[in-house]
């Protein structure tokens, strides 16, 4: 198998672009990634484009606008893991030997829904009864606080940390720091979550150019190697399950660490799927950055802040950078590549050599989540 490396990244700042269509959100990110790679765009041999709610043929629309269509384009839908799943397809396409250079896109426009919670599939029986994503994560939070005696102030601390990071990121949707008092005093969405413990509604796009390791070394002096790439789906369970431990991410973490020959202690920086405040604490534990029930203590110790032992979501994460769902996985890769190249500016994690991205999602009855894709990168 051939290894893959990232040779170019680009994104548009996440935010609200109600007057811009999805094609026009997407192409500037692709153009930026091509410019960053410094290659002739005609060298791209295949495209994997992720969107959850963008509709049909989004990859073709974007490449057509750039005058670059007429090559294999695969559109990928996997809810919040759409572009991280597209990334896994791109890595596999390089590994197969079929291509030397491929493009991965993530793009989403959520402002078209006019606000409120993310629309879910009405065929699902829990959705038919009124389940929303904030309510699902809220139940996880309630049970977590019950089982581990963690206070709401501790959980809300995730929002404080990630908004602080987002203030340092020009590509973040939310660029203002908030205090824990402001987080707790914001409007109630689904108890215990106030508005500032929920990721914002927004739009965005991100793109990545992958090359085989051999090609990457010819094209630039500082390619970022994909050390391991992982994609899995949740498992259906109709009976009791522990909502404080995310089955799909626990399994994904174990499998990718095995594939990479690494452990949690080897990760210097990570972007994880903090769609709601509680999620980040649960994922600290799922990846083994701390023991079960120790997530709040890890956060409060400062270990997961920039400059800490294991900085998490230096970009601001979903809570501050924003979560245009299908674009999230690709944007996480953009952040980790910038961190490993030393191009992250005021939010730079000093000396980071190994980084990780994690995007999971898809609310389906009986599943922890529908999909989860994790990547580990090294310079």
């Amino acid at each position: 198998m051939k290894g893959a490396s990232v040779i170019g990244v680009g994104m548009i700042p996440f935010g609200k672009y109600p007057d811009t269509n999805i094609t026009d959100l997407g192409w500037p990110a692709v153009k930026a990634a091509i410019a960053d790679a410094g290659i002739d765009a005609r060298r791209i041999q295949a495209v994997y484009s992720g969107t959850a709610r963008g509709g049909a043929m989004v990859g073709q629309r974007i490449m057509g606008r750039l005058g670059l269509a007429g090559l294999p384009i695969v559109n990928v839908e996997n809810a919040c893991s759409s572009s991280s799943s597209a990334m896994a397809q791109g890595v596999m396409a390089i590994a197969s030997g079929a291509y030397d250079i491929v493009l991965v896109i993530g793009v989403e426009k959520l402002t078209k829904f006019g606000g409120g919670t993310l629309p879910l599939d009405e065929d699902d029986w829990e959705v038919q009864l009124g389940l929303t994503m904030p309510a699902l994560y809220a139940m996880r939070a309630q049970r977590y606080m019950h089982d581990y005696g963690v206070s709401l102030k501790d959980v809300a601390g995730v929002s404080v940390k990630n908004r602080k990071n987002g203030a340092l990121n020009p590509d973040a949707q939310m660029r203002k720091e908030v205090s824990v008092e402001e987080v707790l005093a914001s409007r109630m969405i689904a108890d215990p979550f106030t508005l500032l413990q929920c990721c914002p509604t927004g739009d965005g796009a991100a793109a990545i150019i992958l090359a085989s390791n051999a090609m990457a070394k010819q094209l630039r002096s500082d390619p970022i190697e994909v050390r391991a790439s992982h994609l899995t789906s949740g498992r259906f369970m109709s009976g009791f399950r522990d909502m404080t431990s995310p089955e799909i991410t626990v399994r994904g973490a174990r499998e990718i660490f095995e594939e990479a020959g690494l452990g949690p202690e080897d990760i210097d920086v990570a972007e994880v799927h903090d769609a709601f405040s509680i999620a980040e604490l649960i994922y600290y534990e799922a990846f083994g950055f701390c023991a079960r029930g120790e997530g709040a203590a890890l956060l409060n110790s400062g270990a997961t802040g920039i400059g800490g032992r294991i900085p998490i979501n230096p970009s601001g994460g979903l809570l501050a950078k924003g979560h245009p769902v299908g674009a999230t996985g690709a944007a996480q890769v953009v952040e980790i590549v910038r961190q490993l190249r030393g191009q992250a500016g005021a939010r730079q994690v000093e000396g980071a050599r190994v980084g990780m991205t994690h995007a999971t999602g898809g609310g389906i009855s009986g599943f922890d989540h529908g999909a989860c894709s994790i990547h580990i990168f090294q310079r």
Partner: protein, 86 residues
């Protein structure tokens, strides 16, 4: 994997595993909307609407019927769980 599915009577009581009082949801739902997961003694977990202001994780709850919202066709009736009064 199997296709041998059949209707079965379910226990009427269970234990509240987790719940949330939801303030933002589709217009048709009565708000605040109390929803949660109830674990039945036969091993099944049910997603359900709840009634009662003083609910807590671990409460024993019992199934009934209630109005949980309103849509174009009138009141939305559903099974709901309420705390078992001792």
């Amino acid at each position: 994997m199997g296709e041998s599915i059949r209707a079965q009577a379910m226990p009427r009581t269970g234990v509240l595993y987790a719940f949330s009082v939801v303030h933002v949801a589709a217009k048709k739902w009565k708000k605040p909307m109390r929803i949660g997961y109830v674990d039945l003694k036969n091993g099944a977990r049910v997603f359900t609407h709840l009634e009662g202001a003083d609910l807590a994780i671990g409460d024993e709850v019992e199934v009934g019927v209630g109005t949980v919202g309103d849509d174009d066709e009138g009141p939305i009736r559903s099974f709901v769980f309420r705390k078992v009064e001792r």
